[in-house]
Symmetry: C2
Subunit: 314 residues, 2 copies
């Protein structure tokens, strides 16, 4: 099952169930995604029972599946991403056995085709292709095994980053505020079942195709997460209850064979250039640049739909 | 003017205007604090015009003034706090000219008399006495000077911290997730005007009396912030729009004469012990312990009311 949120005159939009071919939709029995997540066990059967999809789905009307959330916690679960980021930041590898995670801005997620505004090109504008999960209410202390059942939806995320600000903020130990403005989300939230064999061991085992200004930049696969999403959820819930609608991200999708399959963010390529050439060569995004992200299965289907965003001056 | 939120059957409670003596209240013309903040310029005159306070104010019914927020950004604006924390963590001083700030959990703020649950005493349970401000909608790029006008309310916060987890999380550079469960808030949100002469240069110039298990632990003053709240707001808004209802914290209130006036958190006292005795001696909180926080003016008045919380096992 796939869900989407359409624009109306509220910040939360209105929830619809998407047809199998992604071209039509049906109104959901609750108004918003947040309401569905708060009453998931009660609402899910009605969502699943949707059999007719009377309304055409206009891509321009699609918001983020959850346009704002009470909590967004982003991990960094791909080892090759972490290694390359330390290269580009000139830092030692981070020593930790538990998942890496920070809390980011959650009051706004850009829709899949929204322009994204930044104040200055000099801030090092970068995309980050990620997967994420949305949970229902998760009690403090929930184990990773039990956390799997709390993962109700899977999403595809573009975690916008400002690299000039990221290194200095990271070095304070306080994590990122200025370096992490709002993320974008692909059109469709998909149930784990809806991903079929591509959802394995709490991981989204799909290639994430990333194109920068129309040219393929990366096609990393989501499988090699060092910690699965269920482990990220358990980590987040160790000392807090997770409110229904909490979104948890994988961090930039990255594979060890990055020289063959490319990267899901520019900073990683700059890290490779540091290794290979002694210095970064690829510049960050300019106003007017676009990035397109589409996770595809072996049949070429894109369960989350297509995210394509343009960078504009604020 | 002072506002409070009373329990009802919703997570947001219902907003009331508090009488000058703090014993009675009147219903506000909008249901919730969040609604008031989203329409502040329209709602504030009606709030200010409240002349009669027909209802008794029961302290047990008081929630946090904003029981959940779309965004909570906490600074660390007191230099002596930062210095002592580096002592206790065995870290070098943080080199930065801009404010220190992290994003924390905002989907829940404990009420002033709520018990606070933690999974384990061994996690180093600590309080942090702080001040905070709540803003209306702040556009990206707002200057510090203009940010002053966006500060609509001032609050008093207890930023619960788990010190055993804090050092390792900080050393990853990702900031705190497990180490920072939900905060508590004192009963009343006060307009800057309502603080009179105690609101100066974007700072809350009041002593914050902190008692641990009934014994005075600290009485630091809020004036010596290295950056005023307006500067913290501008820092937060550099690359993002701040949603109405964003709460921004000062970090632990701390003064350079900490040996005379004490501290607003246990970790600071441990830092002093590291300097004076070579090792920390004071243990963190145990289940059943209480902390009481009350900012007072020179007349002994407590504009934010009293926060008093007990630590309990989850």
């Amino acid at each position: 099952m796939r869900l989407a949120t359409l624009r109306n005159d509220t910040p939360d939009g209105r929830l619809v169930v998407v047809s199998p071919d992604g071209t039509t939709c049906a109104p959901a029995p609750v108004s918003t995604m947040q309401q569905a997540l708060e009453r998931w066990s009660e609402i899910e059967p009605a969502l699943l029972a949707t059999a007719t999809f009377p309304d055409a789905l206009d891509p321009a009307q699609i918001m983020a599946p959850l346009p704002r959330a009470w909590q967004w916690l982003d991990g960094s679960a791909f080892q090759s991403h972490g290694d390359l980021m330390c290269q580009v930041l000139g830092m030692d590898p981070i020593e930790t056995t538990v998942p890496l995670m920070y809390q980011g801005i959650s009051d706004k997620f850009y829709g899949p085709l929204d322009d994204v505004k930044f104040p200055d090109e000099a801030l090092g504008i970068d995309f980050e292709g990620e997967f994420g999960v949305i949970v229902d209410s998760v009690p403090m202390g929930t184990t990773a095994t039990r956390a799997l059942d709390h993962i109700k939806l899977v999403v595809q995320i573009n975690d916008w980053s400002l690299r000039t600000l990221a290194g200095p903020e990271m070095k304070t130990g306080f994590g990122w505020v200025q370096a992490k403005p709002p993320c974008g989300m692909a059109p469709f939230a998909v149930t784990p079942d809806g991903l079929g064999d591509s959802w394995r061991a709490g991981r989204v085992c799909l290639n994430l195709n990333v194109d920068w200004n129309g040219k393929r930049f990366g096609a990393a696969n989501g499988e090699p997460m060092g910690h699965g999403f269920h482990e990220l959820v358990a980590h987040a819930a160790r000392t807090r209850d997770l409110v229904a609608g909490t979104i948890i991200g994988s961090g930039t999708v990255s594979n060890a064979n990055f020289r063959e399959i490319g990267s899901s963010c520019i900073a990683e390529r700059r890290g490779i250039e540091v290794i290979d050439l002694g210095e970064p060569r690829t510049e960050f995004m300019k106003f007017g640049d676009t990035v397109r992200m589409e996770a595809v299965d072996i049949g070429g289907r894109a369960p989350f739909g297509v995210l394509e965003q343009k960078v504009v001056r604020a």
